[in-house]
């Protein structure tokens, strides 16, 4: 029976994965032709052919600029951030055995927000602000882990969550303090928008900075994918099966935090993706992390690609993406609560 279930699930995963991948490619192609600056698909093909040296005649200068400096980096960044937020969400939900957990549970977003706000307050350059955000996220989660691991308790995950709440709200208070100190004309709006998230300012350098970190963080997730399943049975069972839960948790927390912090550093705080997407993925392929991870990443990438395309085209000016993900994510989540019959584990 188990064998049969496993097989259907496997083919189902392959099917869902294939469809989602095709969907992602199609949506990317469509989205690359949508934007405030009108560009035909023919022009895009022309520009690509020229880029790869097939077409001699160079494309229109402005079209080349819009595509290579603005639209494509942004498009790829939304795909990347969508995928990593979903991956981090899967890891945390599995690890904490709790469906209400999102990548922010250990305070990475709040910490990154605090780092960025401090950078804005100190009038640092944009790159330094992003670096501050990245480090702020890592440091906050590091502090949470230290506090939690120094408390020897029976329920280490519970202590982790509680430490996350405590340190997170402390970081939140510091963030409020920074806001009060900030210049209300140019710094405060910048901080506010930063916390709402946006891909508006993403360029190639951002993308090239975040990509290796995300890939690096993905490696332990892929290598430990079977042990995450064991971990979700509970610490006792995991130990009985010869898995050291504390060690695995440390690796996973570091990996998920690294990728989330990298994503937040280039795009600001974007909620809901890491919470809702793993649920949708679980609905499709079940809780086995081995299948869940790729499917969730593909869904996250599709989702954020679509939402960011809406964010940049809805009006002439930008709509912060954090607002849109909430508007889309909240109803989807409620729908899931009504319809999800399959147990989440």
């Amino acid at each position: 029976m188990v064998e049969i279930l496993g097989k259907t699930n496997q083919s189902q995963t392959a099917l869902s994965g294939g469809l989602l991948a095709i969907c992602l490619i199609l949506l990317s192609v469509i989205a690359s032709g949508i934007g405030q600056y009108p560009i035909d698909y023919a022009d895009i093909i022309h520009a690509l052919l020229h880029y790869f040296g097939i077409e001699e005649e160079p494309p229109d200068q402005t079209i080349r600029l819009v595509l290579s400096e603005v639209r494509l980096p942004r498009l790829l960044a939304s795909v990347l951030v969508g995928a990593v937020l979903a991956a981090a969400g899967c890891v945390f939900q599995g690890m904490f055995r709790n469906p209400l957990v999102s990548p922010d549970i250990l305070g990475v977003s709040t910490g990154a927000g605090l780092g960025a706000a401090a950078g804005i307050l100190l009038s640092l350059s944009i790159i330094s602000i992003q670096l501050m955000a990245f480090l702020g996220g890592l440091i906050t989660v590091g502090a949470v882990y230290l506090v939690a691991s120094s408390i020897r308790q029976h329920e280490p995950t519970l202590i982790l969550v509680l430490a996350g709440i405590v340190i997170g709200s402390l970081a939140g208070a510091c963030l409020s303090l920074v806001k009060i100190l900030a210049d209300p004309y140019d710094q405060l709006p910048a901080i506010t928008f930063w916390l709402l998230g946006s891909f508006a300012a993403v360029d190639k350098i951002d993308l090239l900075g975040a990509l290796p970190l995300c890939i690096l963080a993905l490696i332990p997730m892929v290598l430990l994918r079977w042990r995450i399943n064991v971990l979700s049975l509970g610490d006792e069972e995991a130990r009985a099966l010869g898995v050291n839960p504390d060690k695995i948790r440390l690796f996973l927390i570091f990996a998920a935090t690294l990728m989330t912090a990298a994503g937040v550093a280039i795009a600001g705080v974007i909620g809901w993706v890491g919470l809702v997407v793993p649920h949708i993925a679980r609905l499709l392929v079940g809780p086995n992390f081995n299948r869940l991870l790729p499917i969730a990443m593909l869904i996250g990438a599709n989702f954020l690609l679509v939402v960011d395309t809406i964010a940049r085209t809805l009006t002439q000016t930008e709509t912060p993406i954090g607002i849109l993900t909430a508007f889309v994510g909240a109803p989807v989540f409620v729908w899931l609560l009504f319809h999800a019959r399959r147990s989440w584990m």
Partner: protein, 344 residues
């Protein structure tokens, strides 16, 4: 990558052939701008205001839509320019593709030249290929900025005319203040927020107009605090203790109830009926944004603080300023509405 560098070279060659000049902006960046500039993208509200004052026909759009009460004070031809958002990095409301699509010759930012904004200028210039100028927007720098931009935009006479107005106003007030002893300067409180319990500390950009007009900001906690903080919350007890001679505000809710609110009655300014409302159309008179729009507020405030020395017909001055800077003839009804509350 090689292709990219080639393209970059081609682009540089293209800009060099269309007759261009090199200008150095306030951040010390050397930027190559076209010889004749016909379209300017204003990166934020202060930049849109200075561009509108100098060369409104070159402005590609406003950072935000105007409120109904602001509209009569903006020249009809430019009231309905498209809304193009503001560029502030991650917090941009501007879409970069829209900026490129507007095809401006120049992106102008007028205001802070802190590192964040310098790096933003560099980044945006690289991404869009449009020259990005950063001009120091401090109040004292107003005449210099007007002349400098007038020259770059090819409207030197207009820049000179506006710069002279600012210079004359500054020197007229400075000369008088020099004769006033520090302790004789009126003590001013800037009330912000519907409760009036928010203020800018002395030395902050929000209240620099008070010192410029020859007043003393009562919320003075020394230069150390001014470097760290801009806006602070006060308690009514602190205000009672500070006991300002004059209160200025632009918050209607606060102004409407201050003379009835029993808590405020013991304050000297309230007792003497010296609470003044600063008009805020089309742009604020004392703040909002802290840019050149404050010149008329400075004139007004000098009259509030030193009525014996600066006597002028406010209506006449407002008409003159709005005609000169905003290129708009305001109707009698609009004028009355604008200055009804600012009277003294």
């Amino acid at each position: 990558m090689r292709r990219f560098i080639q393209c970059a070279f081609l682009m540089m060659a293209a800009t060099a052939t269309a007759s261009a000049v090199e200008v150095t902006d306030s951040a010390g960046r050397t930027v190559t701008v076209p010889d004749t500039i016909t379209r300017i993208y204003a990166a934020g509200p202060p930049a849109s205001i200075i561009t509108y004052m100098l060369a409104p026909d070159k402005l590609t759009g406003w950072p935000r839509a105007h409120h109904a009460y602001e509209r009569p004070f903006i020249n009809e031809a430019y009231r309905d320019l498209p809304v193009t958002g503001r560029l502030t990095g991650r917090g941009s409301t501007a879409n970069l593709e829209v900026v490129i699509g507007l095809n401006p010759d120049l992106i102008l930012d007028f205001g802070s030249i802190r590192q964040t904004y310098v790096s933003l200028a560099e980044k945006t210039q690289e991404q869009t290929g449009i020259p990005y100028l950063l001009i120091d927007g401090r109040f004292e720098n107003t005449p210099t900025a007007l002349r400098q931009l007038g020259k770059i935009l090819g409207v030197e006479t207009r820049g000179e005319e506006l710069a002279e107005y600012a210079e004359n106003l500054f020197s007229e007030i400075d000369q008088h203040i020099a004769t006033v002893k520090e302790n004789d300067k009126p003590r001013v409180y800037l009330a912000r927020g519907p409760e009036g319990l928010e203020t800018g500390v002395a030395g902050s950009i929000n209240t620099e107009i008070i010192e410029k007009a020859g007043g003393r900001n009562v919320a003075d906690y020394g230069p150390e605090i001014a470097r760290q903080r801009n806006l602070v919350s006060m308690s009514i007890e602190e205000v009672l203790d500070l006991d300002p001679d004059i209160i200025v505000t632009w918050d209607r809710q606060f102004y409407d109830q201050v003379y009835q609110n029993p808590l405020w009655q013991p304050v000297r300014a309230v007792k003497n009926r010296a609470v003044y409302f600063a008009p805020a159309a089309p742009f604020g008179w004392i703040d909002k944004p802290p840019s050149i729009n404050r010149l008329i507020g400075l004139k007004w405030m000098s009259g509030l603080l030193y009525p014996d020395h600066f006597s002028f017909d406010l209506e006449e001055e407002v008409r003159r300023f709005y005609r000169l800077f905003y290129q708009v003839e305001i109707s009698d009804a609009d004028l009355q509405q604008l200055i009804a509350w600012s009277r003294y």
